[in-house]
């Protein structure tokens, strides 16, 4: 590919960061020394060189980590090494929140101010940081802080993520206190003792432990030891799967009626069969561990507490669908889960259960590559995730074709959520029929729920499908705060708000559908009646505006219009403005739902629409109109929004 680079050159440190990850350049045409004259007559680049684009995000991560930001010179070198047009490399680098294309402080504290953390003291943490660093920290100083969307630590809110360049690892801290965070700035930051994942599973402490299936090993084994996992029966499912044969495994999964747990609830058996039957080769497997739905943290707990199980489950999925290579795409803000999975994959490979050509002596070859996201909610959408792996901006593709036919690198691709894959272990061990016997006829097996907000014992809960919302709340010790329920955000920011009258709804796919809601990613975020719901909804609107990839107009413009209308709703209004905004919100919701490319746009208005429908915003709409003279300056609000973009 003909690349047209600017004159900016990479520093030695930037080159070293790239080379440490992908090796030294082998020709002058891909970044090597000109004086190496051997390749002045011939060059072998072309398709092989262009195929390196898939390494783009890992390489940008490496530069960000080593240098603290990605300069033009570094981008030029990366472009040359991986044969990526520099404008596109910039497009990728500027797409992700954890990569900076401007000089940035060596330490960036991402303070979660999303729905759960903002009612748990996020602003106090920001206040403490402001007191230490000033209102506008020098972006090139030693340390700065940024507001962040949900960090997936809601059960221990409030949370911060400390992103650090150089030799220090990133740190996730939850719960974080203003004093603690301010103290971090003054002394050398050290890794805190992570709360062990079992702390996020209240059921593990009591007699309920016996009922756990997906969560059953967490806390009972050493998540850093393959031996410990095998001693707990690990890799029995893979042996069993290979005894059954690939087709029989698919049959068991189909018989189990397992539905995808990522939010779309697609039958897993059908997806697997569709890929297995594709003649095009190779087939790819992707584990979607880009858990980013606000209020969701179940996959993090699974990966931190039982990482080997995910590796085994991926291997079974690959075996059943004829995949020779798999990617585990984990969200960038999960440092502990990333470390544990990297270690697990390494140990499993060393033990001969990954890589090679003959896993368990059955002539099966499969390997897994761990890929880190870099701060982009949209990459949880399967085709955006595929583009991200390929080294493109994480923009969703039009469907069809679906990934089962044309997925990663244009090949048939199985893409499953973490919880879905882990469910397969028991299906293989116990049989699909046994699995289907639990839960309800249309929602089989167990489901993980993420309880947070005003609830006594927040955490991940595992119940057989069929339990009601009320039962879940009781298991979790009931509502705290004022003790009076205002609403529950069910399914995530892309889900719905439900109220008291929905408490006896069974938490099944069909049960939630019947009340116009969805299980989504299993979020149950509880709001007592003291929470200013307009504030929560405005934060959700800001989240979608920030996370919209901008590719399609309905979503790019609609999410902005939606947030603007909610901001207006929060201030005194002029005559008739409320009616106009109510109509506008309905229009925008309709257009985004009808005409967006992907699920982000389709669901960016569902939470708001459900709240409007439930009358939860009636108070805000009924606030008396005022005359323009009284209304103060709306400019301040507009300015604030501009700055927050």
């Amino acid at each position: 590919m003909d690349l047209y680079l600017s004159s900016a050159t990479a520093t030695d440190a930037e080159r070293a960061a790239v080379d440490a990850l992908i090796g030294l350049p082998d020709t002058r045409w891909t970044g090597g020394d000109r004086l190496d004259a051997a390749d002045a007559i011939t060059a072998r680049t072309g398709a092989v060189a262009r195929a390196r684009r898939t390494e783009l995000l890992p390489v940008l991560h490496a530069v960000q980590k080593a240098i603290g930001w990605v300069s033009w010179g570094a981008l030029n070198y990366v472009s040359l090494r991986l044969t990526v047009p520099p404008a596109e490399a910039y497009g990728v680098a500027s797409f992700y929140a954890m990569l900076s294309t401007e000089p940035q402080a060596a330490t960036v504290i991402h303070v979660c101010d999303d729905v759960a953390c903002r009612i748990a003291g996020a602003e106090e943490i920001k206040g403490a940081l402001r007191a230490e660093l000033g209102d506008h920290p020098d972006p090139e100083g030693a340390c700065t802080f940024l507001g962040s969307p949900c960090l997936g630590l809601c059960e221990r809110a409030p949370a911060v993520l400390v992103q650090r360049s150089g030799s220090h690892d990133d740190l996730a801290i939850a719960p974080a206190s203003p004093d603690h965070v301010a103290g971090l700035l003054r002394s050398e930051m050290t890794a805190p003792d992570y709360a062990e994942p079992v702390a996020s599973i209240p059921q593990a402490a009591g007699s309920d432990r016996d009922s756990l299936r997906l969560l059953r090993r967490i806390g009972l084994l050493d998540p850093t030891s393959l031996d410990s996992y095998r001693a707990a029966g690990g890799y029995g499912a893979l042996e069993r799967a290979m005894d059954l044969g690939a087709e029989a495994v698919r049959d068991e999964v189909t018989a189990s009626k397992l539905m995808g747990r990522g939010g779309a609830a697609f039958p897993t058996g059908r997806k697997w069969s569709a890929v297995a039957e594709q003649p095009a080769q190779p087939h790819y497997l992707i584990c979607n561990a880009d858990e980013s739905e606000p209020g969701t943290f179940k996959d993090r707990v699974l990966m931190e507490g039982d990482p080997f199980a995910l590796v085994e489950a991926m291997t079974i999925a690959a075996y059943a669908t004829g995949c020779s290579y798999g990617y585990l795409y984990i969200r960038g803000e999960y440092p502990l889960a990333t470390t544990r999975l990297a270690s697990a994959i390494h140990q499993v490979r060393e033990a001969g259960l990954l890589g090679g050509t003959d896993i368990l002596g059955r002539g099966f070859a499969f390997d897994i590559e761990l890929r880190r996201g870099a701060g982009a909610y949209i990459c949880g959408e399967e085709t955006a995730l595929i583009n991200s792996i390929e080294g493109y901006r994480g923009e969703p593709r039009n469907k069809p074709p679906f990934p089962v036919a044309v997925g990663l690198f244009g090949k048939p691709t199985v893409i499953n959520n973490v919880e879905t894959l882990l469910s397969v272990l028991d299906i293989v061990l116990d049989g699909g029929a046994a699995y289907a016997a639990s839960g309800t006829p249309d929602s089989t097996g167990t489901k993980l729920f993420c309880l947070s907000g005003y609830i006594a014992k927040p955490g991940v809960y595992e119940v057989a499908f069929g339990a009601t919302l009320r039962e879940l709340l009781e298991m979790a010790g009931g509502i705290t705060g004022s003790g009076k329920l205002q609403a529950i955000m069910l399914g995530g920011a892309a889900g719905s708000f439900v109220t008291e009258d929905a408490l006896d709804t069974p938490l099944t796919f069909e049960g939630t559908r019947a009340i116009g809601a969805s299980l989504g990613s299993g979020v149950i975020f509880v709001l007592d009646d003291t929470v200013e719901l307009l504030d929560t909804l405005t934060r959700i609107a800001a989240f979608f505006r920030d996370e919209s990839c901008g590719q399609c107009v309905p979503c790019r413009v609609g999410t902005v219009r939606q947030e603007e209308a909610l901001v207006r709703l929060g201030r005194p209004s002029t005559n008739g403005e409320r009616d106009v905004d109510r109509a506008l919100l309905a229009d925008v919701a309709g257009v985004m739902g009808d005409a967006s490319i992907c699920g982000l746009g389709h669901t960016a208005a569902t939470a708001l629409s459900s709240a409007l429908k439930a009358g939860l915003l009636d108070g805000a709409f009924q606030r008396a109109d005022v005359t323009p003279a009284d209304s103060g300056s709306g400019l301040d609000e507009t300015k604030r929004m501009e700055e927050s973009r």
Binding site: A37, A40, A43, R44, T45, G46, V48
Partner: protein
């Protein structure tokens, strides 16, 4: 070898093929629209190999670039042929049925071992072998070339050597396979098809065939010369001898584009009368006694153009020509009337329909059908004919239809402009994306947005040895003449090789350096292999 001069396949066959060789072609820059078809082919899985002395922007897309020594194309082709034969990669069935002269050809390339090929072309033997095997093994393969093949004194032989490769492997006349000379403008193909070449009437009818001549005399109502005319290089030689003393130039700019241009300018000035018909006042027009301002064909006139896949397309008038400019057809008709011929008022369609009556391959292409089909590919002999996507499909008919195609053994000769102590560097001329030839259309009417100062591109190693800083002014000499020009470093260039463009003679008069020697078979001069020396300017 095949008769009519045109690419054998369609753009579609570039998109749907397994293997593409771009040989002496930087289509990425010089044929950007065609290259989009190449890119589609690449995306569909085709491999791309590029043979070019420079690692051009096309070569940057290639799976394999072969940085051939300038002027050693026949050596490479013959080496490939020998390797394809000795590795058993020939299509013996095709050779037996559709070709003649294989044995003689095989013997002719016997000396071209990989080792000898390497010595002459500079390309490692393993890389030559790789190309031979990749081309030989490909199910469907394309060879595309442009001026890097033809603008040599051995231009025709160069082309023949490539055709031999296609005959060896049966890569012609079937879908996805072909031999394609890429045309540099929207109507280079059409110009030749319409008889704007000295030995052919429209539709590739032979000037020296009595049958053809009588046919044209009958329709045109005038006696026609029985002997073919002179080609461009011969015309300038004849002008030098003053055998030709009047010249009518239409849409050409030889005062800048001719090789050894100093000589060309002198003989243009020595003419008794020079008439130039052009859309702008070119350097040649500035030497003219009479200038006839012409309409721009692509927007100010009606007519047709024919592209590299032989597709005839209609061109429509969108604007009235400015001032006194007129459509070429009107100018020529008026001239005829002034010369005493009673020509009627002609529309473009009238002229086209006359052509259709004389050229069988265009006969089925009425304006109405051209409109309906968005253009048609010749040959299209009648109004029911859908046009021809692929030429020479007859070679695959069993039994063969028509005559078999002969192999043409060709000998390699070193470039005539030899490198020696006095002229140690090789200069080649190339084109850039934003300019076309002497820049009449790309630089005179508007300044190309990417235009940088024209310069001699040289490797940093050579420049440093010569004491030339990047951007310094240097004196560049060949055996024909000397120019002063800026030098700029080209990091992609190997030592010993330099390049310039013909785009801006006012800044870099490259054709003062090129050789007037021409290919006796095509009349094309040697633009590609020039021996030069470069000297730093001493302070004066």
């Amino acid at each position: 070898m095949f008769g009519a001069g045109g690419g054998t396949s369609s753009y579609r066959d570039i998109e749907d093929t397994d293997f593409i060789v771009l040989w002496g072609s930087n289509a990425r820059a010089a044929h950007p629209i065609f290259f989009h078809h190449v890119l589609t082919g690449i995306r569909n899985g085709a491999q791309l190999y590029v043979v070019d002395p420079r690692r051009t922007s096309s070569a940057e897309w290639a799976d394999q670039w072969l940085g051939i020594e300038v002027g050693s194309d026949i050596a490479l082709a013959n080496t490939l042929a020998r390797e394809i034969i000795s590795a058993g990669l020939v299509d013996a069935e095709f050779i037996g049925r559709a070709t003649t002269g294989f044995d003689e050809f095989r013997d002719s390339v016997q000396e071209w071992t990989l080792e000898r090929g390497k010595q002459v072309t500079g390309i490692p033997a393993a890389v030559i072998k790789d190309l031979a095997h990749a081309y030989g093994n490909a199910e469907r393969a394309q060879i595309c070339w442009t001026l890097g093949i033809t603008e040599h004194v051995t231009g025709v032989d160069n082309v023949l050597s490539l055709i031999n490769l296609a005959l060896l492997t049966g890569n012609v006349g079937k879908p996805g396979a072909g031999l394609n000379p890429l045309r540099g403008q929207n109507n280079v193909q059409g110009g030749g098809d319409m008889g704007a070449i000295p030995n052919k009437y429209p539709g590739f009818r032979d000037v020296e065939s009595e049958e053809d001549r009588l046919r044209f005399e009958k329709v045109w109502g005038v006696p026609l010369p029985a002997k073919k005319g002179l080609h461009l290089s011969e015309i300038f030689e004849a002008m030098g001898r003053r055998d030709i003393r009047a010249l009518y130039v239409m849409g050409e700019n030889p005062a800048e584009s001719e090789a050894d241009v100093a000589h060309a300018r002198k003989v243009l000035c020595d003419l008794d009368i020079l008439v130039v018909q052009d859309i702008v006042l070119t350097a040649t027009a500035q030497l003219a006694d009479v200038v006839l301002p012409s309409a721009a064909d692509w927007c100010e006139a009606e007519g047709t153009v024919t592209n590299s896949e032989r597709r005839v397309q209609r061109c429509r008038k969108a604007l009235d020509p400015p001032g006194e400019a007129r459509q070429d057809l009107q100018i020529i008709a008026d001239l005829a009337r002034r010369m005493g011929h009673d020509w009627p008022e002609l529309t473009s369609e009238d002229a086209w329909d006359e052509l259709r009556s004389l050229s069988k391959m265009h006969e089925g292409m009425s304006y109405a059908r051209l409109d309906e089909h968005g253009g048609l590919q010749w040959p299209c002999p009648d109004e029911e004919h859908p046009g021809t996507l692929i030429l020479h499909e007859r070679l695959w008919a069993d039994p063969l239809e028509g005559e078999p195609v002969p192999f043409c053994p060709v000998e390699w000769h070193a470039p005539i402009d030899v490198l020696d102590e006095d002229f140690p560097l090789r200069l080649t001329t190339v084109r850039r994306l934003d300019s076309y030839n002497t820049g009449v259309q790309t630089d005179v009417l508007s300044t190309a947005p990417l235009r940088k100062d024209e310069s001699l591109r040289i490797s940093p190693e050579d420049a440093t040895r010569l004491g030339l800083a990047d951007g310094a002014l240097a004196r560049v000499s060949s055996r024909r003449g000397t120019i002063e020009v800026l030098v700029s470093y080209d990091l992609a260039l190997r030592p010993g090789l330099t390049w310039m463009t013909p785009h801006a003679s006012e800044e870099a008069d490259v054709n003062v350096l090129t050789a007037e020697d021409w290919d006796p078979k095509s009349g094309t001069a040697e633009f590609k292999a020039v021996a030069i020396r470069v000297d730093a300017m001493t302070a004066s």
